[in-house]
Amino acid sequence: MNRRSVLAVGVWLLGLAVAAGIVARARYTADLSAFLPRTPSPMQQLLVQQISSGPASRLILIGIGGLDAAGRARASRALAGTLRAQPQFLVVENGEQDGNARDREFAFDHRYQLSTAVTAQHFGIDGLRAAITATMDLMASPAGLLAKSLFRSDPTGETLQVVDQLSGTAQPRMLAGVWSSRDGARALLLAQTRASGADTDAQARAVGLIRSAFTRITTTAPADPVTTTATAAASSAAAPLVLQLSGPGVFSVQARSTIEREALRLSLLSTALIVTLLLLVYRSVAVLLFGLLPVASGALAGVAAVALGFGVVHGITLGFGITLIGESVDYPIYLFVQSRGRQFHGVLWPTIALGALTSICGFASLLPSAFPGLAQLGLYSISGLVVAAAVTRWVLPPLLPARLAIIDLAPLGAFARRSLARVRVPLAGAVLLTVLCALVLYQHRHRLWTRDLAALSPVPAASLRLDAQMRADLGAPDVSNLVMISADSEQAALRWAEAAGGRLDGLVAAGVVGSYDSPARYLPSQATQAARLAALPDDAQLRARLAAATTGLPIAPGAFEPFLQQVAAQRQAGPITRATLQGTSLALAVDALLWRQDGQWRALLPLHATAGDDIDVARVRASLATLAPAHVAVLNVRQQTDALYAGYLAAALRLSLLGFAAIVLLLVIALRRPYRVVRVIAPLLLAVLVVTAALALAGVQLTILHLIGMLLTVAVGSNYALFFDRSAAERDLSGLPRTLASLMIANASTVLGFMVLAFSSVPVLSALGMTVAPGTLLALLFAALLAPRSLFAAPAEPLPA
């Protein structure tokens, strides 16, 4: 080793140590936020927050199926009891605590703050008489006993009014004393975790707790002695109890473990395949290990760069990063196979460097992406490739043993050359293929790209169906249309919610909206509550009005004493606050609909369609438009997420085209001759075109990950095309067979690696695999076919010794 080599190895080792230090201290996250945008519009920002860390993200829906209703109810009670004792859970509801009774009590106690009917007229003589007569009519009905029990303390019927107001939130069905699905097939529980849904580690712990508690219950709990005899026969025949979990946190836990499992399984498999291939070629473990040094160094540097640049490393970056810099596995192959008897840095290096530069141009287009995951992948790939190329150039040669015992692949290359020489009309074929593919793509132009963000979701469709089912059973709103309120304070948010509610009442009456939910229904603004309490007359006034109002009615003397006392007490009572709601199911409802985030208060008003109808969002928008648009916005979640995704896709396409333009510019500068640039670019474009057309024909809708795959195809394929270009420019064809052989080996390793990914059940992985594996294979094929015919036409020259 000369002094420069010592310096290079020294710098490399130092760099590795620094990178390892950074990697060890880096923060890692595996949540789904890699798929969520960084800087969308404010509304989309809200949506993303709501999805990733809003109160709804902390809900875990638990279903218990199997056995019989009594057995499920026992398990539900035992599970709820166990979970309530755990500090990780804020609330665990299963219906057994008769939340309805508490809610009804709450409605009665606070009827004058909550009832929308409370106005000054309502407590005037005419208002009182009308209300009391209506209540008496009610008492003469089958519902009479209900009205009767309230008559003395609430003759104006405010409690029923409040119950009606609150019953907008559907209650789950009860079976054997606990919540049940509507079809009665499973018991339902609802758990709210203390940790945010974005905290996947905490969610994983919560899910683990639920599972282990359930296992303990089902394995150790003795059968209830009372029912054993009656149900023994039935339960021994029935299916055992099964646990079903759903919710945003559960999904992220599932997604993470699926991605981790698949990434591990698939990368092990592809590594095994590639290592086997390389061992066959290198015939030396030592050389194989040397060959892996550039990739390993690049991977380490890539993670370190992401940790420095973003502060936090996404799991997805770790998973994909290695495959994206898979190109760098090729560098040592070129070095080992082609460098026999040739000067590496004089001849090979410029081609490899140019190939790496084109790849960097391609990956640089990911850097400005709004997808944090994609931006990280861009940085990872660029830094990884730079380091891998540098290690191949400066570190690997001095470390290699003097004589490499690798197999001589020149015969393989010679064979390939002879085969290529037989192809007669490659150019005409290429033109025809281009036209055909263009036709296919033109035909599919409207459904080429998927508009559905869910296409990227690693959550299987079956889990989503179960979630929708359990949500419907629990009466949890399906939040496809929302009115979103933003304000500086809780009270302002509630006042805007009341203003929006006033407009929505009109839309409900007009049949545009079926119903809606609002936090102000459970917790009216202080101003509204104060106005209601102020509408209550003082004791003397109320007595006088009551006497006048009940003239001629068969009311027993003194019957309304409780009413008079309670109104007097209520006038002194202050407004209810969030704390007053504690212990009722209304607290949970308010938590889900009203919260503070980043110094802003948000209120949500989910809209429900009338049965079997879609909401005319435009009419809702028009109706609410005259309120302050800065505070009140109508949101169609589906539209928004789709617009969000379409936005990403458009941006990614634009950036990819920019990246492509940069590649062309780079090649023009490096190769100087237009025809050489065309010769390098054409096979890559054709490969991408054919793969895209084939995917379209197969009915696959393209996602953003397919686009990345195309980018990667161009990045890897550019190396192939550049080697052919260099060979053509060199006019010395003695090295051609080895060049061909090295390209074939490099391509085989890439194809093997990505082919494995194509079989993954995770959509992002399979999209990448099914694009890159055929893409790179075709890129090599087309690069060879479109290379000057003179390369292959000459008879194989005698091989140098």
């Binding site: 008492m139 009905s141 089958p142 027993a556």
Partner: protein, 199 residues
């Protein structure tokens, strides 16, 4: 408040019992001594019945009784409907465990099972419908007086928490025909429901 709901349902239980018994009226039996099993068997066979009703409620808060009238409809095994026509149109339907009240355009539905203290009471209706004397006796003390010509069935709640303010329910029948259902409450209020099968 929940007590109020329970009372409502109690009345319902009474009304339901009445309807069931009234249903039996369509199938008049001969006149051997009144046996509970015979009565139950008759009830179990009935599929559909309709009757007019008049109800008087004597309440401490009012100086005059509240009077209402309307139609009772029963369909075996789990549908019962009370349509009040006077003083105001309102309907109450018990169907497969869901209690629905409709007054004007406003509808309220509550699952009966939301009221655990009430569920057994209402389940007793199902038990009666099925002619399931054992299940009925699990909830109530049953006393049958008289003959099938002229009988009186008294239901006394066995469990205090399930009585929900009801002291007892007394049903009068002539042969298999119900004429009256009286519900007494522990606070002294009481109601009388008179039933006439529709011609």
């Amino acid at each position: 408040m929940s007590r109020a709901w329970q009372r409502t349902a109690t009345l319902w239980a009474a009304a339901a019992c009445a309807a069931l018994l009234l249903a039996a009226g369509a199938r008049a039996a001969d006149a051997p001594p009144a046996a509970l099993d015979q009565l139950m068997a008759l009830l179990a066979q009935q599929r559909h019945a309709e009757a007019d009703f008049d109800e008087r409620q004597y309440l401490a808060v009012l100086t005059r009784p509240l009077i209402s009238s309307g139609v009772l409809i029963y369909d075996a095994p789990s549908h019962l409907e009370q349509r009040t026509l006077r003083p105001r149109r309102q309907t109450m339907v018990l169907d497969h465990g869901t209690l629905t009240m409709q007054i004007g355009r406003r509808r309220r539905s509550v699952p009966l099972a939301d009221y655990p203290q009430l569920a057994p009471l209402i389940d007793s209706i199902r038990a009666t419908l099925a002619g399931d004397r054992a299940a009925l006796e699990q909830r109530f003390e049953l006393q049958l007086h008289g003959t099938l010509e002229h009988w009186q069935l008294r239901l006394t709640p066995r469990e205090p928490q399930l009585s929900a303010g009801v002291s007892d329910i007394v049903i009068d029948g002539a042969q298999a025909q119900i004429s009256e259902v009286r519900v007494r409450q522990s606070d002294g209020d009481h109601s009388v429901l008179q039933i006439r099968p529709r011609p």
